[in-house]
């Protein structure tokens, strides 16, 4: 705790330390836990992007989107169509990524425009349905014209490359071999930082206030002159854009995509990340995303423990994962709805007593003044 206070008083120093930590993190992790964990880090960053995007929809605007992964899928498939042997197109990433984000955003508007004037829980169902539709199409659009290659998915997707410098290979810098997982780590980190910046700026803006107002009381917001439908649409489109971008990056990173990666459970997992971390609070959302990417990996050890304890794997750890997510959603809503790392404002709501004290002292000032 004393360290935290020390750093809080010196934000620049804290930032510097954080930057150094983030810069060397993949090497620490690679050395300490093994190569495969660097890839886990990469995925964690991808999920941070997704969680940041969904957080705009759910955390800022208070709209429950259960088909978020559909936008991720759109971005991923668009990347695969435009940069793989499937159609023989090999456009560069700096052209494809924005297109994917744009496509996802357009779909967000198309889906949101008719449904956002309805009550929130309808939106949840419609987005759920949309996610399923997209998945059904991905699975079946391999005939009569092969667009998605069906359940097999598409592979040999181009990696991200700067000129001739492809991130898919291991490169040597000053004699140190830097693997593709490391390279993607830095790329993703850059994107994450950019998205954090965008999300923070949005939250603290006229639009962000309008989102908060709608979340708090939609009727009052509209009676204060907010075009609730447009503003909600904006949240939806922004969230979708983040999703589309992450999808493109995923495609390039993985080199292979299939409908399996874009199921409902993925949407639920991303929702779980922001609920667990703290809806509407960026550090919380990041924490949630990292936790829920890393913990399931750690669950693998549960299998080893079982083998050590009872001689066989009675419960497949992968099966436990979703069960734990489900329990987490329920328990969080029942006992800690503000999340593990809520914003100070939401925390304040829970400590009304202190607030009353603060108010009372304020009114003492009133009386004197």
């Amino acid at each position: 705790m004393r360290i935290v206070d020390f750093l809080r008083a010196r934000p620049r120093l804290a930032l510097l330390l954080l930057a150094i930590l983030l810069a060397v993190l993949p090497f620490l992790v690679g050395a300490g836990l093994g190569k495969s964990w660097v890839r886990v880090l990469d995925f964690a960053l991808l999920y941070v992007m997704l969680a940041l995007g969904l957080n705009i929809v759910v955390g800022y605007a208070g709209l429950l989107d259960l088909g978020y992964v559909a936008f991720y899928a759109l971005g991923a498939y668009l990347y695969a169509w435009l940069a793989s042997p499937h159609f023989g197109l090999h456009l560069p990433f700096w052209a494809v990524l924005p297109l994917g984000a744009l496509l996802a955003g357009v779909f967000g508007v198309l889906l949101g425009a008719p449904t956002l004037r309805l009550r929130g829980d309808y939106l949840a169902i419609v987005t759920l349905g949309f996610g399923e539709i997209i998945r059904i199409f991905m699975n079946n659009l391999d005939a009569p014209i092969n667009i998605t290659n069906g359940p097999q998915g598409m592979n040999l997707i181009d990696p991200i490359a700067f000129g001739g410098f492809a991130l898919s290979k291991t490169h040597k810098f000053f004699g140190i071999g830097v693997s593709n997982a490391h390279l993607y780590y830095y790329l993703f980190l850059a994107f994450v930082l950019a998205l954090i910046f965008v999300a923070m700026r949005l939250q603290d803006s006229r639009i962000g206030r309008a989102w908060a107002a709608i979340r708090e009381d939609e009727v009052a917001a509209s009676a204060m002159g907010i075009d609730t439908r447009n503003v909600k649409l904006l949240a939806f489109a922004m969230g979708a854009t983040f999703g589309g971008l992450a999808g493109g990056l995923f495609s390039a990173f993985q080199g292979f995509i299939s409908p399996e990666s874009f199921g409902l459970m993925e949407s639920i997992m991303i929702l779980c990340m922001i609920v667990l971390g703290g809806m509407g609070h960026i550090p919380g959302v990041i924490l949630g995303a990292v936790l829920l990417t890393v913990l399931p990996e750690a669950l693998r050890y549960v299998g080893d423990w079982q083998r050590a304890l009872i001689g066989r794997v009675a419960v497949d750890p992968a099966d436990l994962r979703m069960l734990l997510f489900g329990c987490a959603l329920i328990l969080m809503m029942l006992f800690r709805p503000e999340g593990l790392w809520p914003s100070r404002q939401r925390k304040r709501e829970l400590h009304a007593a202190d607030e009353v004290a603060e108010q009372e002292s304020a009114s003492v000032y009133d009386a004197r003044g």
């Binding site: 759910v58 208070g62 429950l64 259960l66 008719p114 449904t115 309805l118 009550r119 929130g120 829980d121 309808y122 949840a124 169902i125 419609v126 759920l128 349905g129 949309f130 399923e132 539709i133 059904i136 199409f137 699975n139 079946n140 005939a143 009569p144 014209i145 939609e218 009727v219 409902l264 459970m265 639920i268 929702l271 609920v275 419960v315 099966d319 436990l320 979703m322 069960l323 997510f325 489900g326 329990c327 987490a328 959603l329 329920i330 969080m332 809503m333 029942l334 709805p337």
Partner: protein
């Protein structure tokens, strides 16, 4: 012509199952304005429990007539699901009745994930076959076939729905339910025990869901831990189509959705010039859901859905 009749029949059979599940959504929504996402999973649990009991009975008393064995399964599945429905309301929804709207929605999703995965841990990932215990006969109607099982499903659904209709319209409990749906506060003032009405609604809805679960697995000959998701989504679409909160609407919506789906699957190939095939059957429900929400959010029989000023 006979393809049309055949698909119509298939649609009505499927639709009557959708209707049973849709009733559960609509009753809960009517009273709590809550989408009980876990309802589809209750259906699945119903099917699974029934199958487990059926399997056990076949082992213990293989000489019993098939229909009795199935009945045994139903007689266990229904109370189990009623208990489950009661527990769901009690543990996951009641504590959040005054929380922001997002909260119960999220717990509902959590619940359905939990139920799915618990079912998977218990019964595994594989499909479970429904043993051929029920009469297999088939009848000719207007050049199409209707099996005894199909007849049976429709008849039982109609019977159950009539029963529910009677309960809601003619009994004290029904009056209390309707009063609670109008306004919880006023109902409480009139001496209705709102909590027990809500719990009862969940219990009844879950009983219907259990029945529907057994029917669906008997009809397709299969059960699976994931079967509740799509069934629930379709039944919810049916409830919206009919007008959510409206009991007659759920029945109508269920039947209609079943028919649309069956006809759609039968003709989508012709309609799209062979571009889309019957493997798109599952998208109809969603398109209908979206269309209804856009053009007539109140559904066919429902009253205006509007946020309260």
């Amino acid at each position: 012509m006979d393809i049309f009749v055949q698909q119509l029949i298939n649609g009505l059979v499927l639709g009557s199952i959708y209707a049973l599940v849709a009733l559960g959504y609509t009753m809960v929504y009517g009273i709590l304005e809550l989408i009980n996402f876990a309802h589809g999973e209750v259906t699945m649990i119903g099917a699974m429990v029934a199958l487990a009991v059926i399997g056990a009975l076949m082992g213990v008393a293989p000489d019993l007539p098939g229909i009795v064995i199935v009945l045994g399964g139903v007689l266990v599945a229904v109370p189990v699901c009623m208990l489950l429905g009661f527990g769901i309301e009690r543990l996951a929804y009641r504590p959040l009745r005054n929380a922001p709207r997002l909260a119960p929605l999220i717990t509902a999703i959590g619940l359905s994930i939990v139920l799915q995965n618990v079912a998977m841990l218990i019964w595994g990932r594989q499909y479970i076959a429904f043993p051929p215990l029920l009469p297999q006969g088939s009848h000719e109607v207007l050049g199409a076939h209707i099996s005894t099982l199909q007849l049976f499903i429709v008849a039982l659904s109609v019977l159950v729905m009539l029963g529910l209709w009677f309960v809601v319209q003619k009994t004290r409990l029904g009056r209390a339910m309707r009063a609670t749906a109008q306004s919880r506060e006023v109902a409480a003032l009139m001496g209705v025990n709102v909590n027990s009405v809500i719990a009862t609604t969940f219990v009844i809805g879950s009983a219907l869901a259990a029945l529907a679960g057994v029917m669906v697995s008997a009809y397709y000959g299969l059960a699976h831990y994931y079967m509740g998701f799509l069934l629930g989504l379709k039944a919810f679409s049916a409830a919206v189509l009919g007008g959510i909160g409206n009991i007659a609407g759920a029945m109508l919506g269920g039947l209609l959705l079943g028919v649309i789906e069956a006809l759609g699957a039968g003709y989508i190939g012709d309609l799209t010039g062979g571009f889309l095939g019957s493997n798109y059957q599952d998208v109809f429900a969603f398109f209908i859901l979206i269309l209804v929400l856009v053009f007539r959010p109140s559904g066919l029989l429902g009253e205006r859905v509007a946020s309260r000023a």
